[in-house]
């Protein structure tokens, strides 16, 4: 019983905050709403007997990714100091696609046999650790390589190139005027 109530609360928080993520007009708010969604997921993980994953979710997602996102928003704010308007465009297509997808997924869930017997014993953190360094070792190492490549790539992409330093880094005219010109 407690289980069901807990799930209901978590699900409600997730969905509502997710809706705020996609609708909020203020980007900073959207990021913070995302943080809430992710926290709710972390709680769900804990309820699903995945405490390690819940911890990781909080540490990397909420702690890392969301912080990174806030940096991203801050770094790219308009030069007049305001954060860019995060309005939505072409709602009908998005709504239609989302509803179609959701319906489809619901139908698929309805048609699938998702009955469960007694849940198997929960995966312990020890097991996860062993498994990562044992049967998933190659994937693990490949992943570390991927992360390295991503970091190097991000640095290369974001680095100011010398020939840009003079002009494009800080547009001299207000962005609105620039946009008008385009």
């Amino acid at each position: 019983m407690m289980d069901t109530i807990g799930f209901g609360v978590v699900a409600g928080v997730s969905v509502v905050s997710a809706l705020y993520v996609v609708r909020s007009a203020n980007l900073i708010h959207a990021v913070l709403w995302l943080a809430l969604t992710l926290l709710a997921s972390a709680v769900l993980y804990a309820m699903l007997e995945a405490p390690f994953l819940a911890g990781v979710q909080v540490l990397t997602y909420v702690g890392g990714v969301v912080t990174l996102m806030i940096f991203g928003v801050m770094l790219t704010q308009r030069h007049d100091g305001t954060v860019a308007a995060a309005s939505n465009v072409r709602n009908w297509a998005g709504v239609a696609a989302a509803i179609a997808l959701c319906t489809l997924l619901f139908v698929a869930v309805g048609r699938s046999d998702l009955t469960t017997g007694t849940p198997p014993p929960a995966t312990t953190t020890t097991e996860i650790g062993r498994s990562l360094l044992d049967e998933h070792l190659v994937a693990f190492e490949a992943l570390s390589l991927l992360l390295l490549a991503a970091i190097v790539g991000a640095v290369v992409l974001a680095r100011r190139k010398d020939h840009e330093a003079g002009d494009a880094t800080v547009p001299t005219s207000p962005p609105s005027a620039r946009r008008g010109a385009e």
Partner: protein, 98 residues
């Protein structure tokens, strides 16, 4: 809290993410929506691992790591976009117009 409920929740979150991806104007906001969708996928992994066993948690960890990589590169791209146009509106990046 059944497996079906968890999957339905994930589906809902995923669809919301899709909606955001298709309608958001800002590149950073689109990245947020991608995060939502990936998170939904992770919920499915963990749910199956809980109710049916299997290496779902491991998958979720890998997915997390890949998400981090994606965010790093994505934000770098956003920065480039910003440098070029002074804004992060995604429609400014239309160099691939045929």
């Amino acid at each position: 809290m059944t497996l079906a409920n968890c999957i339905l929740l994930a589906s809902l979150l995923f669809s919301i993410g899709v909606y955001g991806l298709l309608t958001r104007r800002q590149a950073v906001a689109m990245l947020l929506c991608v995060e939502l969708m990936l998170n939904a996928a992770n919920i499915v992994f963990v749910s199956f691992a809980h109710f049916r066993g299997g290496p779902g948690q491991i998958f979720a960890i890998f997915a997390l790591a890949i998400t981090v990589a994606e965010v790093a590169v994505g934000l770098a791209l956003v920065l480039l976009l910003y440098r070029k146009h002074g804004d992060t509106a995604i429609d400014l990046a239309s160099e691939t117009k045929g």
